[in-house]
């Protein structure tokens, strides 16, 4: 995948400006099909710890991705499309090609449309956009809200959406999405990696998901506010690992309840862009070991929020900063470094061409969360238990393209 990725990047950079700006279309059965692509390559270096399962303390290029999509506006109301995606992220994703989304979309009216298939999930400002590096100021979105190592737990669903836009007259307009379906399994997500020493998955961890999002574009120019809700009920099973509490014993997992509530605001005026989001994530997981008839119950009550600001000085340069706050469980002492991750970030984004960006970003991270929160820092490297240091400073450089 790395050679392929380099080849695609070389094609994008080496092609003439006119070629790259061109829309790549072809005709199929009398309908135009558009082809679009995006990708990125990152480099991360930290003074201590390993972040996102990358060996960042030694410097790591193990952070890249590539997406390609095809879509066609078949009729005025009917659209079809699909996108493939592959990424490398430390020990989590190693270039597996996945179906990112595949959608049949029919819009009856501006206020009512339906889409079905594998659909990106609406949650907050950026859940469905988090893979596309060129859309964001940041090399890494606030990880309290959009953890890249847990992407699979919210990014998409197999099922359907009802969506639409409702005009509110002088009060602006509201965009809504309501969805339901099944949460796909993600064997490469951080949660399973973090617990891989003690729980070995045998049947995929997946289950029903439903929720909704409402985004209100207010009468105040540039200001919008919104709220999202998601609930999941994944289940799975496996065998206890030799280093864990139930070595060799079969177990089942039942996320009796997982509920996410998220609120967000955004203000964009001229070159200024301000975002703020708040997120609550409640989980109640039951682990049952049939051989001992033992049922254990674990609950997490996570809180996350961030606030960010960015300013675009010219069409080439944008700078910004954000503060990201995460506590995996409100029920414990969150002042301990093992019970929080606070991240202060500064970023400079350079738009070298309309299709090519470079971002230079500094992270100043306090804390490392809990191992079972599986976010950013892992206390098991696949072979050894490790205890992260409480402070991590990291430089992240990421270049990306999209066309």
């Amino acid at each position: 995948m790395n050679r392929l990725f380099i080849g695609v990047m070389a094609l994008a950079f080496g092609a003439s400006s006119a070629m790259v700006h061109a829309q790549y279309n072809f005709n199929l059965a009398g309908r135009q099909v558009q082809v679009h692509s995006f990708g990125s390559q990152g480099f991360a270096y930290s003074n201590d710890n390993s972040y996102l399962t990358m060996n960042t303390s030694q410097g790591s290029f193990n952070f890249d991705d590539l997406g390609v999509n095809l879509s066609s506006q078949v009729t005025d109301k009917l659209r079809l499309g699909a996108q493939g995606y592959t990424r490398r992220l430390g020990e989590l994703s190693k270039g597996q090609v996945t179906l990112d989304w595949a959608v049949v979309d029919y819009r009856f009216k501006p206020w009512l449309g339906v889409r079905g298939g594998k659909v990106k999930t609406a949650l907050g400002l950026y859940n469905d956009l988090q893979d596309v590096d060129s859309i964001s100021t940041w090399a890494l979105l606030p990880q309290s809200m959009y953890p890249i190592d847990l992407r699979g737990s919210t990014i998409a669903h197999y099922g359907g959406d009802l969506y639409g836009r409702v005009r509110l007259g002088k009060y602006g307009k509201a965009d809504y999405t309501a969805y339901g379906g099944e949460l796909p399994s993600d064997p490469h997500q951080g949660f399973l990696y973090a617990l891989s020493a003690v729980f070995i998955e045998k049947t995929p961890y997946r289950g029903p998901i439903y929720g909704g999002d409402v985004k209100w574009t207010t009468p105040l120019k540039g200001f919008l506010a919104g709220a999202s809700y998601m609930t999941q009920h994944p289940t799975g099973s496996g065998v206890g690992g030799q280093g864990g509490p139930i070595p060799g014993k079969a177990y089942t997992w039942d996320s009796k309840k997982r509920a996410i509530t998220q609120f967000y605001v955004q203000y964009i005026v001229k070159g200024l862009h301000v975002d703020g989001e708040y997120h609550r994530d409640y989980r109640h997981l039951l682990t049952y070991v049939p051989s001992t008839n033992n049922l254990s119950s674990n609950e997490w009550n996570a809180r996350s929020w961030y606030i960010s600001g960015a300013y675009r000085f010219s069409h080439r340069i944008e700078v910004g900063s954000y503060y990201s706050f995460f506590t995996p469980n409100q029920n414990v002492d969150t002042s301990l470094p093992g019970n929080h991750i606070y991240d202060k970030v500064v970023t400079a984004r350079f738009d070298l061409k309309s299709f090519w960006t470079v971002k230079v970003e500094g992270h100043f991270i306090d804390g490392y969360g809990a191992n079972d929160s599986a976010r950013g820092f892992y206390q098991f490297d696949g072979a050894h238990n490790i205890t992260p240091q409480p402070q991590t400073n990291m430089l992240l450089v990421r270049t990306g393209f999209s066309f």
Partner: protein, 143 residues
Amino acid sequence: MNRMKIQRTLLVATVFMLGVTALMHAADFKVIANNSVTANTVSAGDLKDVFLLDKDSLGGSHVEPVLDKGGPAHEAFVKEYLGKNDSALQAFYRSLVFTGKASMPKTLNSDAEVVAYVAKTKGAVGYVSSTAPSEGTKTLVVK
């Protein structure tokens, strides 16, 4: 007396500058459409909705937006009617394309290409420099 003269001069200069600015703005671009589009006028709000892919009809006719890749007419149109700069507009379109919610609108490289495409494509609505020849299309008045 001198003070009155200065005030009068400033007033004339201000009116002159406002007039020049208006003329300059009016000279930046014009909105054109395929002759199949029945509307002769379009509100600024509807025009914005068409180019931000929120609306696909004007006056009962199906429409599709056509953009210029760059240039003064593009910059002026995007700033005035879409409330964005080009970077923000491209990010907006990409957010729709890469989540499966829309296809990228047609983008062409020059006024001549935009005029040629709009003239031959049913429902096409675009913008070109106000002085660009636009045979085969109709000019929409933006209210």
